[in-house]
């Protein structure tokens, strides 16, 4: 396949930037380490929005058996994840064999407020990574 002309590359790049990020919410349902109030409020705010989003019951549980859904998620390009510590989330995906793209934005429901997280998930601009 030939290389795109420069002006097309630029247009393509801007198109990519304008695409909304895929939002992933982890419920952390298999252990009570994420404050219930925060995770409920984040999910409620996502539901209040018009955004499409992806939710999983527990990323740790999926990573434990290398769920192929993780591969689909890691391969989807721009990604914003509401879960827990970024180091742990990145490690889970890597250990499952599906490393996350370097620019993945990870919001931490164990330390950030629901409002901060929802704002970052739903904003058009790149989120502030925890």
């Amino acid at each position: 396949m030939g290389k795109l002309p420069a002006h097309c590359q630029s247009a393509f790049y801007h198109l990519l930037l304008s695409l909304p990020a895929t939002i992933l919410y982890c419920r952390c349902a298999y252990a009570q380490v994420v404050p219930t109030g925060v995770k409920n409020e984040v999910l409620q705010k996502l539901c209040d929005s018009n955004a499409s989003f992806e939710t999983v019951s527990d990323l740790c549980e999926m990573a434990a058996h290398r769920d192929p859904r993780l591969q689909a998620i890691a391969a989807c390009g721009k990604l914003r994840i509401a879960a827990c510590y970024p180091r742990a989330v990145k490690g889970l995906f890597q250990q499952a064999g599906f490393p996350l793209p370097a620019d993945t934005e990870i919001l931490n429901m164990r330390t950030q407020t629901a409002q901060e997280i929802a704002d970052a998930l739903l904003s058009a601009a790149p989120a502030t990574v925890a």
Partner: protein, 281 residues
Amino acid sequence: MITHTHRPLRVVLYEGNGSIQLPAESRAKVMMALLDKGYTVTRSSLGAPAMPHDERNLLVLGAFEGKAPALEDATGKITIDTCDITGLEPDAIVALVDKSRGEKTMNEPGKWKPWFPVIDYSRCTNCMQCLSFCLFDVYGVSDDNKIQVQNNDNCKTNCPACSRVCPEVAIMFPKYQAGPINGDEINEHEAGREKIKVDISSLLGGDIYSALKDRSAAAKSRFSKERSPDKALDERKKCLTKLVGDGFIPADVLASLPSTEEILKKAEIAKARAAAALAAQ
């Protein structure tokens, strides 16, 4: 007990063309109920981009007002079922999903805790100390001689002992309460601790586990008699004191430990594996 069978279906809460949007509160209740039961759920709304897809069957839920469309995958790889949830309460929707899943097995919250080490490879130096330390064969070595977690199921729930002895603070347990074991950022103090790399298996010689397993006075006495005046003793005492003081090895883990002879044998095997991997680097 965990099953390593992947989730049999992906639930899609469809609110695009042809369906009526649910009230936000109902939507949240339905999603919470399904997630807390162990399902993965996609919310698909009008005009939003397609979600990443895999090859598992889809169950599409929507308020179709009695007219759930029949859908077919163009590639023929997966089946797509549609269900009308108009007017249904969250409990009834969960029951509908359960019915659609049928007898296919799926892990459910409350029956198992995903507890296993996660290696932060940006910190790991491949020193193999965790391989030497763990007596439950959780760790292994890849074809290219890199440390890796190979047997999640062998890990003892709530025991992060290997994380404590990692000299690079590179082992995380995401379900642990406190940092940095839970994946929290590492401060300078934590990064500087226990930088001395030691051969844990020969250092401890299995004594640490057997001593912890039986904390009776007799056991303590026996343990103390086994002390030797060499350099390793200081490290052993330091490590044992830390382990006991922190109380991070749960009673049920201690109770499930193998015999001293088995521990020594396992430690020797692990040590040999670690040495072989290091030599091959």
